[in-house]
Amino acid sequence: MYNYLKVTVLGFLSVLFLTKASLSADLVITFDDLNPGPKAAFENAIAQFQKENPGINVIANNGDREEHKAAIRNFLIADAPDVTSWYPGNRMRPFVKAGLFEDVSDVWDANGFHEDLAAVKPTMTIGGRQWGVPYSYYQWGVYYRKDIFDKLGLFEPNTWVQFKYICDTLKKNDITPITIGTKYLWTAAGVFDYINLRTNGYKVHNDLTAGKIKYTDPRIKKTFEYWAELVNAGYFLENHASMSWQDAVVPFANGEAAMYVMGNFSVDAYKNAGLTYDQIDFFPFPEITKGVPRAEEAPADAFFIPTNAKNKSDAKKWLAFVARPDVQTEWNKTIGQLPINSKASVSDDKFIQQGFETLNTAAGLAQFYDRDAVAEMAAAGMEGFQEFMMKPDRLDKILKRLDKIQAKVYK
């Protein structure tokens, strides 16, 4: 008994001393993706960073994305890590405004990021300063079952008419044209964004999400008219409101549905569901209004330094590290996304290649409805989109409600 006690006490003391001793060089990094690909990429990068900086004791925490979203307000104030992953655009705005994120413009200046990371610089910038460093972004578009298209003699569409023809053909062959799971709402926003970008272009998207255009504006109504063509014809998966985006992969994988308007992170899910690369392919969302320059959705993920971080100098080393061309190349190869650093090389994966092509030729890059719009507006808007997809005849009522909320949010 006595011995046992002694050992416990000694153990306690040694733990205390150890933490004390290493405190000076601890670097706590919080990340938010437990999916196999991103998890591996993050862990590899940590290992490499640790190897390059033996003086720093890196403590990496990786957690669930939704939990991270719920927890960040608390830990930024109460118990801040030295680095945390988060999102640019309107998602970082409240924290920047509240002074909870550190200005990292000096990291941008010192490493030539203004040129190398130019693609997403606007969304990382508030008040002329940069607040974080992005490590990855990805394209959105239409993923489709190439084998099914081939069997039915269908080709990648370039125009809205062709797109509807494809939907119609699939429907006649008892295949759901477009799979979607709107339980968590944001997937519907992806469809809305694309139809809106193709109907009205990049500027209208930005003006709408900035609260400068009403939802009852004729241009936005036009967007919904196009969307209604798909909804009323029954081109979307039934019961989509009970399904998450992962659930909606199932009909896509077993051949009951043929297209998916999604981000490139979904490719991993298709592969895990048993699809091979020959069976799936990608095309950019087709043109609707002739002559509208093609803008794309390309949400970026980034790292930030909380103002309350304890070890900011090492944290800045990490930010410089994750934006390095070789690191971005490796990281994005592992997660199947696009590096932002223009000096990084792109993996030869066919989706990455197509995404690279799509984004490089785009006239503008949108973040995403729920990152471009203010949070409260985004929540109401996405609920409205889901309601519209289930009850398209309520459109006027929905748009009026969104106007009301918009007036309240952007006063």
Partner: protein, 304 residues
């Protein structure tokens, strides 16, 4: 010398007022924690409801603006309506629990085992109950869908139908709640006086009359607790909604407790003032309901 005098004196005060003071001495720890964790937060929350505050920046005094906004908020009315549906239907747990308790209150081989089976849903977490029922209702692979298909019907997506979703969640919520009421009644039943029942039987009371006039009055404490617990459970129904639908589709299964969370603390919310206003409304609804109930009970007790 003086010290002992002092001691004697203070013992004397305590001795004199022993009966008055002792209960308070025992209550103090409880009262302190109740104040810190329940009473004070209630007033803080009411106070916050007069501000516009995102939890990070400066809070701005807006007076009654949050309440005015509530009056014109469709989502608030949807949630309020759903709360009342919850309140009414959730109370079914009380008679259902009584029924099962009466049924299980017999001496058969292995009755403890059956009792524990019925009690099981109350032991597992509400989150698990919610998950099980979301799978059960799932229109693609759920058990319910298979039952519908085998009967030749189209499966219904209960959790994404704005008219059915609330009932679907309440049904799931009833499962553990019935078990809870059942346990309360089972303990009550073990205290029902045999003599009274014997006497009633001699007077010719049978089945329903026996239940209504002899057994139920003796179960009144159990009924009281069941009803109060069920009402509170219905009004703060949060976990089920959060797990099964997150208030969806498009807010149609929202209840006040979840709507409050959504506006004040969720990914797209952080209007703490507005959320507090919702909480305040919910608090007063509970207060009125429970005060009414306690008052009636008090009157009944006095009547006897």
């Amino acid at each position: 010398m003086r010290r002992s005098n002092h001691l004697k004196y203070s013992t004397h005060i305590y001795q004199k007022n022993k009966l008055v003071l002792s209960p308070w001495l025992f209550l103090i720890p409880g009262i302190i924690f109740f104040l810190i964790y329940v009473i004070i937060p209630i007033f803080q929350s009411i106070w916050v409801s007069f501000y516009e505050w995102d939890g990070l920046g400066q809070a701005e005094w807006v007076g009654l603006a949050n309440y005015v906004e509530l009056l014109d908020d469709e989502y608030f009315y949807t949630s309020l309506k759903n709360n009342f549906i919850w309140l009414v239907l959730y109370l079914l747990a009380v008679p259902l629990g009584l029924f099962i308790a009466l049924f299980l209150n017999q001496v058969v081989f292995g009755i403890r085992f059956y009792k524990s089976l019925f009690f099981f849903p109350f032991v597992i977490s509400q989150v698990v109950v919610g998950l099980i029922f979301s799978w059960f209702y799932n229109p693609n692979f759920g058990l319910l869908a298979h039952i519908f298909i085998s009967l030749g019907f189209e499966p219904i997506a209960i959790l994404s139908d704005e008219n059915l979703v609330t009932y679907g969640i309440i049904f799931a919520g009833l499962w553990p709640q019935v078990a809870y009421c059942m346990i309360l009644y089972l303990t009550g039943l073990s205290n029902v006086s045999r003599d009274l029942m014997e006497a009633a039987r001699l007077d010719g009371a049978k089945s329903w009359r026996m239940l209504w006039y002899v057994v139920l009055p003796q179960l009144r404490p159990a009924t009281f607790i069941s009803v109060v617990v069920t009402i509170i459970g219905a009004l703060r129904s949060f976990d089920m909604v959060a797990i099964m639908t997150e208030g969806g589709p498009y807010g149609s299964s929202n209840v006040l407790a979840y709507y409050m969370f959504e506006t004040a603390l969720s990914e797209y919310g952080f209007r703490l003032g507005y959320g507090s206003a919702i909480a305040t409304v919910l608090f007063f609804i509970m207060l009125i309901y429970i005060t009414y109930f306690l008052w009636r009970l008090y009157k009944n007790e006095k009547g006897i």
